[in-house]
């Protein structure tokens, strides 16, 4: 009878609860709190937070083979299915008009990958391997799906930490970027007004995804899965004849895979996998990456002003860290704070979407050279 009672108690999760589980619950509640109370990336942080909570319920074994979270993780992330589908939806949502109107903003998107490489070197200095350092560095691209895509291929054991760091810092763009922008620019620079963007024809918008897809995939084939889907989504949008497909890609399909993505990422964050010094270092490196990416974009914008007759407001360089459209909104808000009649949003959207392409290219090079 005593044995039976002991076995019964032993079969309960509560008997196997560890301090690590409780810490992870606290982290999961923290993520859900940020999402609900502060509105930080709720579409991702709610499923990730809940995934963290349930994977840390002892004996549920949800990440064991053939269990629900493992199925999402295996088929969605290990098979590299979900990030490209998210990119399909993002492409359908993205208007490349500002980039086409002012193509030099593409270079600002490239400069804003600076932090990716700074964090890469910092991570190596802290003892991470090259594939791990690549996965950490790519956080600086401020692009969740690309971070996940790269990490799954190069350092899957860091997936939880890199994904949560990427999405957390993306949500914290309005907190992280303004002090850096103020530090790197003068008031006079922040007051620069930019000429209204020229109109872009429908024909150019239709050709852009085809040219971009061809060009990027020819030079960096490893980025093809993300880039091709991104541009396919945009082609749906701009062709104007498949509104149903475009609508599905940016709404229903995107929402479905976002649920699977969030819960699969949360599922990787068990106490055993997440509570170690490496995860904390990943978070610190993520901040380094983000900060230096912002600085990289700002510096190139300032440099362009040295050589260009038509001045650009250097703040738009900071929007080169993807985080679409949050980073562009930060620039607009800061510009309006200095001069309420200065409208920078559309100008900042150029480097903002260029940053997404830049991050995918950087990820493709990492995948080619570090694997």
């Amino acid at each position: 009878m005593v044995d039976a009672l002991f076995n019964f108690i032993n079969s309960m999760g509560v008997y196997h609860l560890t301090v690590g589980n409780l810490i992870m619950w606290a982290i999961s509640f923290g993520l859900m709190f940020l999402a609900i109370r502060k509105g930080y990336e709720p579409l991702l942080l709610i499923p990730i937070g809940f995934g963290v909570f349930i994977v840390n319920l002892p004996l549920t074994n949800l990440m064991e083979n053939h269990q629900i979270l493992h199925i999402f993780y295996h088929y969605g992330l290990e098979w590299e299915l979900i990030p490209p589908i998210i990119f399909l939806g993002l492409g359908a949502m993205t208007d490349f008009g500002p980039v086409i109107a002012n193509p030099k903003t593409l270079l600002l998107g490239a400069a804003a990958q600076f932090g990716v490489y700074i964090a890469f070197f910092f991570a190596l200095g802290l003892g991470f391997t090259i594939p791990e350092a690549c996965s950490i560095g790519i956080i600086g691209g401020a692009d969740g799906p690309t971070t996940i895509f790269t990490t799954v291929a190069l350092a899957p054991h860091l997936l939880g930490a890199t994904a949560v760091a990427a999405y957390s810092y993306m949500a914290l763009v309005p907190v992280i970027q303004p002090p850096l922008i103020k530090m790197m620019t003068t008031k006079k620079e922040r007051l620069i007004r930019m000429k209204q963007l020229r109109p872009v024809s429908k024909r150019q918008k239709i050709i852009f995804p085809l040219v971009t897809c061809g060009l990027v995939c020819l030079f960096v084939p490893a980025s093809a899965a993300l880039m091709a889907m991104f541009m396919l989504g945009n082609f749906f949008r701009e062709s104007g004849v498949v509104e149903r497909l475009s609508g599905t890609a940016q709404n229903e399909l995107m929402n479905i895979v976002t649920i699977f993505l969030g819960i699969a990422v949360g599922g990787t964050m068990s106490a055993e996998a997440f509570l170690n010094p490496k995860a904390l270092m990943v978070f610190a490196m993520g901040l380094v990456a983000f900060s230096f990416s912002t600085i990289g974009g700002l510096l190139l914008a300032k440099l362009m002003n040295v050589f260009s007759k038509e001045k650009i407001n250097p703040m738009i360089g900071a929007a080169g860290v993807s985080a679409v459209p949050m980073a562009a909104r930060v620039v607009q808000k800061m510009g309006a704070a200095e001069d309420p009649r200065n409208f920078l949003l559309m100008h900042a959207m150029g480097p903002n979407v260029a940053g997404v392409i830049g991050t995918v290219v950087a990820a493709g090079i990492f995948l080619t050279m570090a694997q």
Partner: protein, 46 residues
Amino acid sequence: MSVWAKAMEIFTFGFSSVFFVLGALSLSVIITRVLINKFGGNPKKG
């Protein structure tokens, strides 16, 4: 090859490739615009 040598290689090829690809894309956008303006009629009408 040491870790740092490999890292320098990744940085050099990586960062320059990002600039190269986005620079090439930037040029392509300009070339496309010129071609459309030359052969495609009024761009505003698309």
